[in-house]
Amino acid sequence: MAKVLMKGNEALGEGAVIAGCRYFFGYPITPQSEVAEYLAKRLPQVGGVFLQAESELAAINMVYGGAAAGARVMTGSSGPGISLKQEGISFIAEAELPCVIANISRGGPGLGGIQSAQSDYFQACKGGGHGDYRLIVLAPSSVQEMMDFALLAFDLADRHRTPVMIMSEGMLGQMMEPVEIRDPVTEQYAKPWATTGCAGRSPNIVNTLHLPPDELEMRNLHLQKKYASIQAQEKRWESFMTEDAELVVVAFGLLSRVVKRAVSELRNKGIKAGLVRPITLWPFPDDAIGQCLDTAKMFMTVEINMGQMIEDVRLAVNGRAPVEFYGRIGVIPSPREVETAIMNVAVKGGLA
């Protein structure tokens, strides 16, 4: 099939439509607005509803209602807006409502800036809202993956009855690349729990309140069991030249492509570098890190933040090798800059 030149945010929007999503509730924020603008035009063409909510809080709660009604529903935002949605995300996770949340990230804290960043890793992977819950977090690295991960996200959400976040750097939302348009998804999941009116059955209740302590604990144990099953089934990653790598670099998202280029250049210079690119930020692919330990003498992460994923890499390495860090904020470093940063670590570790 011929490829179409698309913006990342548009590919994400079209991916949602292909996945069967017919409802988008959102609020404008840079650099996410094109997702909303694309779907405002596109959803009415396929019998769907785009609704600009009065706030990020309202948008995520409209998602709560739409998902409870059994539909494939989506919202999107960026850093400060995602912060506002956290209350609703916690409720959605507890109520086990499938939905997709896009974070086309910008740098923080506070209002921060509108340039590319990966500063919301902690927020996405370590909670964000209150209580013991997890999101599945997908990190696309290309405009094609913006589309493909929309399909994957809706499938994972329905399969595990859980909210799924697609987190990309702002630049990936804004840049254009050729995209192969996927076939429409026709598979539907049965949702006997949905609140659609109780004709012919006893009433369904979507609720997150559990006042008796033993009931609340049971709910939490149930969720943890589900999260363990997601961890067992859904870790995704890409490994590049790690088979004999002495220095394993870990990077995700669009940035991972820059790091891949730097790793290739370093290989040409005789440095045994490799790349692990987590595709699921949660569940974190610690197995991929573990597999490198036969040859790896050092690890490092390259991130567009001040050092967040490095904590998960350190947990996976568990003291068996040093883990170094190189980070920027608000810019995607050039391959040359990343190459120099990796080389510096290699020299420090006696690998160059």
Binding site: Y23, F25, V49, L51, A53, E54, S55, L57, A58, A59, N61, M62, V63, Y64, G65, G66, A67, A68, A69, G70, A71, V73, E87, G88, F91, T195, T196, G197, C198, A199, G200, P203, N204, I205, V206, N207, T208, L209
Partner: protein
Amino acid sequence: MKKVFQKPASLTGKPWHYCPGCGHGIIHRLVAECMDELGIREKTIGVCPVGCAVLAYDYFNCDMLEAAHGRAPAVATGLKRVLKDRVIFTYQGDGDLASIGMAEIVHAASRGERISVFFVNNTVYGMTGGQMAPTTLLGQVTTTSPYGRDKDREGYPIRMAEMLAPFEGAAYVSRVAINSPANVVRAKRAIKRAFEVQLKGIGFSLVEILSTCPINWGLGAVEAMKWLEENMIPYYPLGDFKVKEG
């Protein structure tokens, strides 16, 4: 023998957790009677607030959701946009609707969202122990206005029905009370009309229901009804504020 009174099918029959003299029991029953009479129980989905009525999902015998504090109109919007032919109602208190959920209710009304809102105004946060609400009357003593609500300190009580009625999207806005048998009958009529407005797809409907909180007011059940009549109704006049014909 002829049966003249029974539990509505739209109630589960689970005993209320509400305090003696609380108005929620009456109001739940009125909503349920209206659902029965309109034959909509199996196509109705209700959204509970955070507040004393948080457990309303235990009492209404239809599909129910429990929303975050103040967000019920947004949750109801999500439901209604997906399930256009179903009947969606929210049941909210004054802290939930008029304070933390002010944005959600205003915009649901302005959009003309085809939902019915049952707004119970008893002038206090009941579940958390009787704190000041946006609807607490001037001079009224609560746990967070221990010297009485002062207009210069806490501002004035908000009249939600009057505020929402002018919105073009609002099709039916009414204020009723449950302090006397006659007013209970009027309240039921308004609740039924709100459902009917939604069924006809005319627009947003809201019934503000003046109710009692004897425990947090420090009054007996009968005294509370009298207090409502003498203090609340003068500030919150009863009647229809918007009736848009379909």
